[in-house]
């Protein structure tokens, strides 16, 4: 980093934008944003305002209110697509990132992956980017192959090249940021290598979009998915950015209303993307809320948010190492990882850690983080995880460290 590093965030002012920090019993230290982020007031207000003033169903009504709802929904789509540098025509709203990956595995995968083909994922995937591919491979007689995670928690592009050279790989699907290790994967290079081998590239951006400046066009993946609630937006809305030409060739995932061009008694023709993939009434108020969320993040600036979380992540790693018997997983270099840290403490189960620090008002997660194959690779049943967001500061980390010292003391009695 150079001297042009953006100014750190005014965390006090940012915390004041999030009502939960003044409405929870104190102390309230929230270090579980990788599970779900807290919501700024502007998001709550945008949803409330939409429902109070602009509520009608979309894509059908001819009266003025219905047109206003249509405009609000499509404006939200355009704003959300612009936030990640994606084409709104290829920006599909789903329920969450999990559904977005299922959409790809069903609508693209069932048509394109056959017996003897291979799907290549990595050992650090969340179950959302693993089980849909496992099911596809079982159904089609295809092979599910894994890129290995090394001791630093990173993937090897050399191994990717070797796997691609073995042939038959139809899709490479990896996380942009690991929800357990925090590793930032080189997804643009991975997509390029996949394309050179004739495979498509899928990126699970659920942990990346809230933390990093993401330019979907520059990454060049065929599909990039993420979810609203981790990006300070509402639950119930996920985003699938797909290459428009690819979406145009695909059959729908779910069928029903809104995704059709014409329905006869025996057959139906499909609507254009993105609508072909949005069966039934879409998450309208959620889209409006998510648009407010991304505008809020843009107002602060994703470059500044990344700089803040990288600096705070470095502080978190340094302070965790002060705790006796504590092991941190993932890359040692804060520049190579997002603002989260998974750890274990000798002789104390992660669930006991999370419950004890929870009693001190510090919210962290413990468990397998929906990544059981990665837990097996790390040789642990579970880890504890502290994850950061734009509203965290050094004092939050200090509170965690104090609570961890107390936990160690309780168990050493």
């Amino acid at each position: 980093m150079t001297a042009t590093l953006p100014h750190p965030l005014a965390v006090g002012e940012i915390k004041a934008d999030f009502p939960i920090f003044s409405r929870q019993p104190q102390p309230f230290v929230y270090l579980d944003s990788a599970a779900t982020a807290q919501k700024p007031r502007v998001v709550l207000e945008a949803i409330g305002e939409h429902l109070a003033t602009t509520n009608a169903n979309v894509h059908r009504g001819l009266y003025p209110l219905a047109r206003a709802a249509d405009e609000a929904f499509e404006r939200a789509r355009a704003q959300i697509a612009a936030f990640t540098g994606a084409d709104p025509r290829g920006t599909v709203f789903t329920k969450n990132a999990t559904e977005a990956i299922n959409l790809i595995a069903y609508a693209w995968g069932r048509a394109e992956v056959g017996a003897g083909d291979a799907v290549l994922i990595s050992e650090l995937e969340h179950h959302a980017n693993l089980v849909p591919w496992q099911q596809l491979c079982r159904e089609k007689g295809a092979e599910l192959r894994y890129l290995k995670v090394d001791g630093e928690g990173t993937l090897s592009l050399q191994q990717l090249e070797r796997e691609l050279e073995r042939g038959r790989v139809k899709v490479v699907s990896v996380a942009h940021v690991s929800n357990v290790l925090g590793t930032i994967n080189p997804v643009a290079e991975i997509a390029q290598l996949a394309h050179q081998a004739g495979a498509i590239a899928v990126v699970d951006g659920a942990q990346a979009v809230p933390q990093l400046p993401v330019d979907v066009a520059a990454i060049g993946a065929d599909f990039y998915v993420w979810t609203g609630h981790k990006a300070v937006g509402p639950t119930g809305i996920g985003v699938l950015h797909g290459r428009v030409e690819l979406l145009e060739e695909m059959d729908p995932f779910l069928t029903g209303g809104d995704m059709i061009a014409r329905v006869g008694f025996q057959e139906t023709t499909w609507n254009e993307p993105p609508y072909r993939f949005e069966a039934g009434t879409p998450p309208i108020a959620e889209a409006v809320g998510l648009a407010a969320a991304v505008q809020y993040l843009q107002g602060i600036g994703m470059e500044r948010i990344r700089a803040h979380e990288q600096a705070l992540g470095a502080y978190l790693l340094a302070r965790l190492r002060e705790v006796p018997g504590l092991t941190v997983f993932g890359p040692a270099d804060p520049a190579a990882r997002a603002g989260l840290a998974s750890f274990t403490i000798d002789g104390i189960h992660p669930h006991d850690i999370a419950e004890l620090v929870g009693g001190e008002g510090v919210c962290i997660r413990a468990g397998h983080h929906c990544a059981q194959p990665l837990m097996a690779r790390l040789g642990v049943p579970a880890t504890a995880r502290a994850s950061l967001s734009l509203y965290n500061d050094e004092a939050d980390i200090d509170a965690l460290i104090t609570a961890l010292h107390k936990t160690v003391e309780v168990f050493s009695r």
Binding site: H351, D352, E355, P381, V410
Partner: protein, 133 residues
């Protein structure tokens, strides 16, 4: 009650120094159960004499609640009639632990009893889902 009290001495004592822990060879009954939520794993070996649990050993690893529950339960289970052990309720186990158990930790607390039930009856599931969250 604070969560620190939850980890009060007798729980931590049983966690660090589990009673009747290890394997038992030969044994008449065995079962292995896990709690996918925490990753707790627990196996049991039971030796039977005259329709009673003559001896019993738990083995496995997991959180303090699951492992302490096994240790505490083992002291009550040895000498108990098989049908009596198989009929023990979730509340029996929670009362024996003597600490408040949050819904999220209920599966940890009941893992030992579930394993014993599985070893005796071949069915570890609970009537009316009382072992579930």
């Amino acid at each position: 009650m604070s969560s620190e009290q939850l980890y009060r001495e007798h729980i931590l004592d049983h966690y660090k120094h589990p009673r009747n822990f290890g394997e038992l060879h030969p044994h008449d009954l065995e079962a292995f159960e896990h709690n996918p939520l925490c990753g707790d794993e627990l196996g049991v070996h039971i030796r039977v004499a005259d329709g009673r649990i003559a001896d019993l050993r738990f083995h496995g690893n997991g959180c303090a609640i699951s492992q302490a529950a096994a240790s505490i339960a083992s002291e009550e289970l040895i000498g108990m009639k098989l049908e009596e052990a198989a009929a023990l309720s979730a509340e029996w186990m929670i009362e024996l632990l003597g600490i408040p158990i949050s819904p999220a930790r209920r599966k940890c607390a009941l893992l030992a009893l579930k394993t014993v039930r599985g070893a005796i009856t071949g069915d570890a599931s609970w009537p009316n889902g009382q072992g579930e969250i």
